[in-house]
Amino acid sequence: MSGIAEAPGDDAGIVAAIRDAAAAGEPLAVSGNGGKRAMLRPVRAARGLSTRNLSGIVFHSPAELVLSARAGTPLAVIEAALAEHGQHLIAEPPDLGRLLGAAAPPTLGGMVAANLSGPRRISGGAMRDHVLGVRAVNGEGTVIRSGGKVLKNVTGLDLCKLLAGSHGTLAVMTEITLKVLPAPEATMTLVLPGLDAAQGVAALAAALGSPFGVSGAAYLPAAAAARVPALDPADTGTGAGVAVVRLENFAPSVAYRAGRLAEALAGFGAPRQIEDDGSRALWRAIRDAVPLPVAETDAVWRVSVRPSAAPGLVDALAATGARWFLDWGGGLVWIAAPAEAATHRVVTAATAAAMGAWMLLRAPEALSAGIDVLPPPPAVLARLTRRVKTAFDPRGILNPGRMYAGI
């Protein structure tokens, strides 16, 4: 895809590469380590620009809950540095390397650009919620900054939010500041086996509607549950699905809350408990979409809906041969199915009926190059999308076509 792939080691290099491309009127495929290249639509560009050599933590103040790192820093490096101080990334960002066929470790910039969040999204917020500040280079090769290094900041328009989730189409982020939090002292998962999707989502709603601070709530149909070694075969072998609910807190609180939550969920059966390491392994698997049975040629969708709409949505997929599981209390539906336009239409129609949002996370180029990978915005929003793109990247050289054809 990229004839010349540049990977400068400083902002000046990024600025020069972008100015050069802008002068030549040639598009740039923007990436970190390139691990998400298979996501969304393919970018047709003769030149590539990577942030992978912009690496390293610049600033970490544990007592202020703030960390800044250059965009190409591998997430694992950041996680390790935080762990040394008993802290973690709040949004629990996933490593989708398996799904996207990438071996390279995900970078901070890539994770923020894709706004990918893990199970803790339901209690702690999304990746974009914790981006406190950004330095970036826009499509004219101008360095811009937004936000800062403090936890609260409403000074001016929050461009950090626009850049998070813009998949490199607006500006190339070079340094990112995040809010971080202490990692929980203990964690425990309650496992409720033998539930169908409707019962499972109802159980998750009861758990999330309790005062006990649930920080993970997923439903795995039997085939998905069977793929998770951390679950007991006695729970997954029933042929029915499994609801799992996570608590994270100080050890005595976890013990107390597990008891109270089990009482609140009594109508769904007696939960089995999985403690610390087992619980961590389970949620790492859910975070990285391990439960999703995916064939090499499958397409994968990530659908965000009102949780109560999830059972109906997956029912509507039954005829397509889709496999799926639910995170975020039912609010995130992971779907894998043969990569066909007809299946895509079923997924998007069912999501639209539920008034949710879908993303064709991955598909063979033959499919993704020719269809929408995100819900096409209605006319007014399409115009605003184009105008915001122009405001950052007037020549349209940064990752053109990655989110929408022609933008």
Partner: protein
């Protein structure tokens, strides 16, 4: 004082015609145009600035908002959106040639869904009314600005408001899932919905905190949360700001994040005590209010952990609430802080800078020096967990020199916040008040990028103009 742009003579000349057009767009009963009634809208929570608008419209539906905006756009009329008018940065200050669109009649709760934990309300519903509507089922809406009895969710969206409990629950931006907005051209757009991850660019994120620069918000879908089993507070008094600041760092560094962590300095303690008789420690230089949540046993355990940390800093006194009533007593003084300052000074400016928490002692020391230099008293209230500092500068608005000094003092504090690595505003917004300080925090390129986003939404800069951005010709967007 910040300078306002010249009113457009062409608009002032057509005043009658414009009022007629507004009546056609929103109905006769929705339009206020007589001078006496317009007075009620001439200022907001920053009363040092006043300006009577051309007219006020109070629409009841999104469609009426759309019709009014389309009319104003077509006629080149400036528009100032308004919620409850509690902005402390002059965000809702009218212009002489502007139409104020007040959202207060759009005050209905539209839908509550406990299974999905969301509520949809019109923009004119007050912050507290959302919690009120869902409280019976044990739920609440988390962001809790002190003005929550009056301020409206539309205003909260525009300002990205925070509150004492946002250390744990986040600010407005972290709790909004869906919006209905109307663009300056009068187009109605829905963004997000009742689901967590909305599609496309982060429209919710850029709209929240946009201070009425991009669109008018008419409907909002927020997350609602189940209330904790209970909450209890603790009060710790210290011999110096330095020691109290060190205690804050030790608490956060220990891995315990309280739901609230509030700091008051000596003048604030004395003012609040005189007003509320909350039993505050008058011998202290600084005090902290720390709140935790959970079951009784959990509260006990967390308070014990925090008390152990605080004892390492030789507190002058340490008061753990044993009951909800004792907690309320601890909060009473803090919650009445604005009233308390209002009692000892005819007027005050509430600043809203943010600093890295490690800079607290140095910054408070410098503010104390400046207070002596300017000859104006100041009391400091601080959301200590997240570095949001509220110096309350006391002055006399009837004395022009006193007011000018207060404004200058405030600006110096905010410059200091930026200089130590912080920012101009943590929750009150830029508005008119801090507009001309924006270059202190942002480079010309940074600001230009923001101004281009404004142009993307509102090419003619008719929506809440002369706020947020230093005056200047609006950038024209063109694809190269």
């Amino acid at each position: 004082m910040t300078v306002q742009p010249e009113p457009k003579a062409s608009v002032l000349a057509r005043c009658g015609q414009i009022v007629t057009g507004l009546r056609e767009a929103a109905g006769v009963g929705a339009v206020i145009a007589d001078l006496v009634s317009l007075r009620a809208y001439e200022t907001d929570g920053l009363p040092a600035y006043r300006q009577t608008p051309l007219a006020v419209v109070l629409p009841e539906t999104t469609e009426q908002v759309a019709a009014v905006l389309a009319f104003c756009q077509a006629n080149g009329v400036r528009v100032v959106p308004r919620g409850a008018g509690t902005s402390l940065s002059g965000g809702a200050l009218p212009l002489a040639d502007a139409v104020v669109i007040g959202l207060m009649r759009m005050n209905r709760v539209l839908a509550i869904d406990y299974a999905d934990r969301v509520a949809t309300v019109q923009a004119g519903v007050t912050n507290l009314a959302i919690s009120g509507a869902v409280g019976g089922e044990g739920f609440f809406y988390a962001p809790d600005p002190s003005s929550q009895l009056a301020c409206m969710i539309g205003g909260n969206i525009a300002m990205n408001s925070g509150g004492a409990h946002c250390l744990k629950y986040g600010v407005t931006a972290n709790n909004v899932l869906g919006l209905t907005i109307v663009t300056m051209a009068g187009e109605i757009v829905t963004l997000g919905g009742a689901h967590l991850d909305a599609a496309g660019y982060d429209w919710l994120g850029i709209l929240t905190g946009s201070e009425g620069q991009l669109a008018i918000v008419t409907e909002v879908t927020v997350r609602i949360l189940r209330s904790p089993e209970g909450a209890r507070a603790m009060l710790a008094a210290f011999a110096s700001n330095e020691v109290a600041g060190a205690a804050v760092a030790a608490i956060i560094g220990s891995g315990v994040i309280p739901v609230a962590l509030e700091f008051m300095d000596r003048p604030a303690i004395h003012a609040c005590e005189a007003f509320a008789h909350a039993g505050y420690p008058l011998d202290a230089e600084a005090m902290l209010i720390v709140e935790v949540e959970g079951s009784e046993a959990e509260q006990d355990a967390l308070l014990a952990r925090l008390a152990a940390i605080i004892r390492r800093f030789d507190p002058l006194s340490l008061r753990l609430a044993a009951t909800a009533e004792e907690s309320a007593a601890i909060w009473k003084g803090r919650k009445g802080a604005f009233g308390a300052i209002g009692r000892i000074s005819p007027d005050y400016l509430c600043m809203d800078g943010v600093i890295p928490t490690s800079e607290l002692p140095a910054v408070l020391g410098r503010i104390g020096e400046m207070s002596r230099e300017y000859g104006l008293a100041v009391a400091n209230i601080f959301h200590a967990g997240d570095g949001n500092l509220h110096p309350l500068i006391m002055f006399d608005a009837n004395d022009a020199a006193s007011m000018a000094k207060a404004e200058e003092f405030g600006a110096e504090i905010l410059k200091l916040c930026v200089a130590v690595g912080g920012c101009l505003t943590g929750e009150h917004g830029v508005g008119i008040e801090k507009r001309d300080l924006m270059p202190v925090q942002f480079s010309a390129d940074d600001l230009d990028q923001q101004r281009r986003i404004k142009s993307a939404f509102d090419p003619d800069w008719l929506l809440n103009p002369s706020k947020v951005f230093p005056l200047g010709a609006p950038p024209v967007l063109e694809a190269a």
